[in-house]
C-alpha cells in the first residue's frame, strides 16, 4: 500500500488543476431555470472541448479511460478550486451514462453517450413515486405495450431538474401480475413527449430542488427500453449503486471547506449566544476537531472503496456506507454551523447563498437517494448478510 502519487498521477493532478483554473466558469451560477441549464451545459461543453469530459469513461465511448484514482483527483481539483458541482449534470454523466454503457444497446449508446459527454443534454431520474419512496419496488406508474410503443400513465416524485432535463431514466411497471420486483422496466423517456406535465415542489428552504412529473398516456418507443422489458429492477439497482460510490467526492471537499470556514469564523468571534471565541470554547473546538477527523476518514474510506473496487464491474453495496456517513455527517456539521454562526447570519454560505439555506438543505440529504434507514438496511443485509 502506498499513499504517494506516482509521477503520472502527479502530472495528471497538476494538468487538471492548471486546466480547471484557466477554464472553470467564475461568473456566479444562476440559481435555476434555463439559465442554470445553459451554464451547466456550457461548463460540460468546455470540459469536452478541453479533453476532460468522462475522465474514467471508456475510451471507446470517447472517455479518457483513466483509472478511478484520476476520476477522484479530477473531482477533488474541481471542488477545491470552486468549480461548479456536477449537480444538474449528475444523472446524465454519473447515472445514465454508466448505466447505458453497462446495459444499453449499441444504438442507445451511439445516440446518447456522445450527447452526454459533449454537454448537449441533461437527464433526470424517474424512480420514486408518492407511494413508492423507500419502498421503490412498489411503484405504480404503468407502461402498457401497444405495438412498438409503451403507453405510460402515472406519477413520479422527487425528480430533480425534471423541468430542465432532455431525458429521463424512467422506471415503470410493465407486468402488474408479476411479483413486486419483477415486472418493472427501465426506459429512456424523452421529456418533451406529449402527455408529460412537470410541477416543481417547493422545499423547506424556500427553493425548489425537486419536481413532480405526471404521465398521461405518454407513448415511448420500445427501442428505448434499457435491458429487457420486465428486467428494470436489475438495471435500476446498478444505477443506484453508481450513485453510492464516488458520487460524494465533490460534497466531501465541500465539507472540508465548511470546516475550514467554521474554524476561521470560530477564531474571529464567539459562537452564537456564547461569550468566548468559538475556538476557545472546548465544546465547539472539540466538535470541529472531530468533524475534521471524520472528514479525513470519510475521504480515506472513499479512496479505499474506489481503488479496491475499480476492477469490479459495478460498485458494491459498500457505497451505502459512504452515502450514510456522508449525509449524516453533513447534517451534523450544519447543525454545528448553526450553533456557531446562528440563524440569519449575514455571512455567505458555502454551497448556497446563506448558511440558513445550507443548513436547511442538509435535511434533504439524509433522505434523497435513499433515506439513512434504507442505507442501514442495505449495509445490514447486503454487506453484513443479516436476515431481512
Amino acid at each position: 500500500m502506498d499513499l504517494r502519487l506516482s509521477p503520472e498521477d502527479v502530472d495528471f493532478r497538476q494538468a487538471a488543476r492548471d486546466w480547471i483554473r484557466e477554464n472553470y466558469p467564475t461568473e456566479p451560477r444562476p440559481n435555476d431555470g434555463p439559465a442554470m441549464r445553459e451554464f451547466d451545459l456550457e461548463w460540460q461543453r468546455r470540459q469536452w472541448a478541453g479533453g476532460w469530459a468522462g475522465v474514467s469513461w471508456p475510451v471507446e465511448y470517447q472517455g479518457r479511460g483513466l483509472p478511478v484514482l484520476h476520476q477522484l483527483i479530477w473531482l477533488e481539483e474541481c471542488a477545491r478550486i470552486g468549480a461548479p458541482d456536477i449537480d444538474s449534470r449528475f444523472v446524465a454523466v454519473n447515472h445514465a451514462g454508466p448505466t447505458l454503457i453497462a446495459n444499453g444497446t449499441q444504438a442507445q449508446k451511439a445516440f446518447h453517450l456522445p450527447k452526454i459527454l459533449r454537454g448537449e443534454v441533461l437527464w433526470c431520474q424517474g424512480f420514486s413515486e408518492p407511494q413508492a419512496g423507500s419502498d421503490l419496488a412498489s411503484l405504480r406508474t404503468v407502461g402498457v405495450i401497444d405495438g412498438d410503443e409503451l403507453v405510460v400513465t402515472g406519477q413520479k416524485l422527487w425528480t430533480s431538474f425534471a423541468d430542465l432535463a432532455d431525458y429521463q431514466e424512467l422506471l415503470i411497471r410493465t407486468d402488474p401480475s408479476a411479483p413486486r420486483h419483477k415486472g418493472l422496466t427501465w426506459v429512456i423517456c424523452d421529456m418533451r413527449l406529449p402527455g408529460i406535465t412537470i410541477r416543481p415542489i417547493k422545499t423547506l428552504d424556500g427553493l425548489s430542488h425537486f419536481c413532480e412529473v405526471f404521465y398521461d398516456e405518454v407513448r415511448i418507443p420500445l427501442t428505448t427500453v434499457v435491458g429487457e422489458v420486465n428486467e428494470g429492477w436489475r438495471v435500476a439497482m446498478s444505477t443506484l449503486s453508481f450513485e453510492r460510490g464516488t458520487a460524494f467526492t465533490h460534497g466531501q471537499v465541500q465539507l472540508a471547506a465548511i470546516v475550514d470556514r467554521l474554524i476561521e469564523i470560530a477564531g474571529e468571534r464567539p459562537a452564537y449566544g456564547r461569550s468566548k471565541r468559538g475556538i476557545d470554547d472546548d465544546e465547539i473546538a472539540g466538535r470541529l476537531a472531530t468533524a475534521r477527523a471524520e472528514i479525513a476518514a470519510l475521504r480515506a474510506l472513499t479512496y479505499t472503496n474506489a481503488l479496491r473496487n475499480q476492477s469490479a464491474s459495478q460498485p458494491g453495496p459498500e457505497g451505502s456506507m459512504v452515502k450514510l456517513f456522508y449525509t449524516e455527517l453533513r447534517q451534523r456539521l450544519m447543525r454545528l454551523a448553526m450553533e456557531i454562526v446562528g440563524p440569519g447570519s449575514t455571512l455567505r454560505g458555502i454551497t448556497h447563498a446563506t448558511w440558513d439555506e445550507d443548513y436547511l438543505f442538509s435535511y434533504t440529504e439524509t433522505i434523497a437517494g435513499g433515506t439513512s434507514d434504507i442505507q442501514r438496511n442495505i449495509i445490514g443485509e447486503r454487506v453484513l448478510g443479516l436476515p431481512r
Binding site: 419512496g133 412498489s138 417547493k202 449566544g273 456564547r274 440569519g344 446563506t354 434523497a368 439513512s372 434507514d373
Partner: protein
Amino acid sequence: MDLTLSDDQRSIIDSVVGVITDVMPIEKVREVLAGNTSPLDVMWSQAAGLGWFGLGLTEELGGTGFDLIEEALLFKEVGRHVTPGPLLATTLAARVAAQGGAAEVAAKLLGGEVRAGLAVPLAGDVVRLVGAAATDYLLVVHDTVAGLFPASAAIDRIPLGGLDELTSREQATVSGDPVAVVSAADDPIAARGSVLVSAMLAGIAEATRDMSVTYAKTREQFGSAIGAFQAVKHRCADMAVAAALADAQVTFAALSVNDFAADAGMQAAAARVVAEGAALDNARETIQIHAGIGVTWECDAHLYLKRVHALRELFGGEAAQRGSLLHAEPGN
C-alpha cells in the same frame, strides 16, 4: 404537592385550543406566512378578550389572577400550534407596564389595542429585535431588570434574516426613556420568559411527536405501516420520552419560579435545556420520518424546526443555563 390539572387549568387549555383551532389553525398560519395579517388581528382580539395577556397578573393589576403555571399551559399550546404573533412579548410587556406604574399602557396591551416585541440586549444599547415588526412597544429584558419602551425608541433598525419566516428579526439601537421598569428582584421577567419559552418548546416537542406518530400509523411502505418498523417505532419512542421529560420539567420550573423556590433557577435552567433538546431533536426526527414529504414546504415539520431556532435565542439559550445548573444547590 399536586401534579394533576385543576378544572380551571383544563378550561384554560380548552379555551386556548378552541381559539387557536378556530382562528389560527395551520391553514391560517400559512396565510400569515404568505403575508396576510388578518387572521392574526382576529386572533389578537379574541386572545385579548379571553384575557390571555393578563393570565398570570393579579386582578388588581388588570389580570385574571392565575399563576405562571397557567401561562405555561397557554404557551405550550402556542408552541404546539406554531401560533404566530408576539404573544409572549405582549404578555410580559403587560406585566412590566402594570407593575411599573404604566397602568394605561398595561390596559392597552391587555386589551389587545397595542402589541409589544422583544429586544434581546447585545452590547451597550444595541439590541436584536425579535418579533417586533409592527408592534407598538419594545420589551428589553436584562437578567436584572426589564424595561418597556415605545417602539420609536428603536433607531437604526436593520432587518436581519432568520430561519423562522414567522418571526421577524432586526438589529437596532434603543435610546430614550422607558415607560415602565421592573427589577428582577420584584418580578423575575427573564426567568418567567425563559420558562414560557421552554413551555413553547415542550409544546413543539409534543406536536412533532404526535405528527410523527400519526404519519407512522398511516404511511405504508413494504406492505405495512412504517410505524411497525423498529427504526421508526424506536425513534417515536425516544421522541415520546423527550417530550414527556420536557413537559414534566416545564411544569416543575413554572411552579418553582412562581413560588420563588430556592431551586427555581436550577429548575428553570433544566427546563430550558431539556425542552430545547427535545424540541430540536423531535423536529429533526419528524422531518426524517416523513422522508421526502418531510422536506417539502407543504409539510408542517419545517415550521416547527424553524420556530425552535427562533425561540432558542430568547432569554439565554442552552449554553447560558450552564452556570445555574453547575452551581445549583440540591433541591428539596
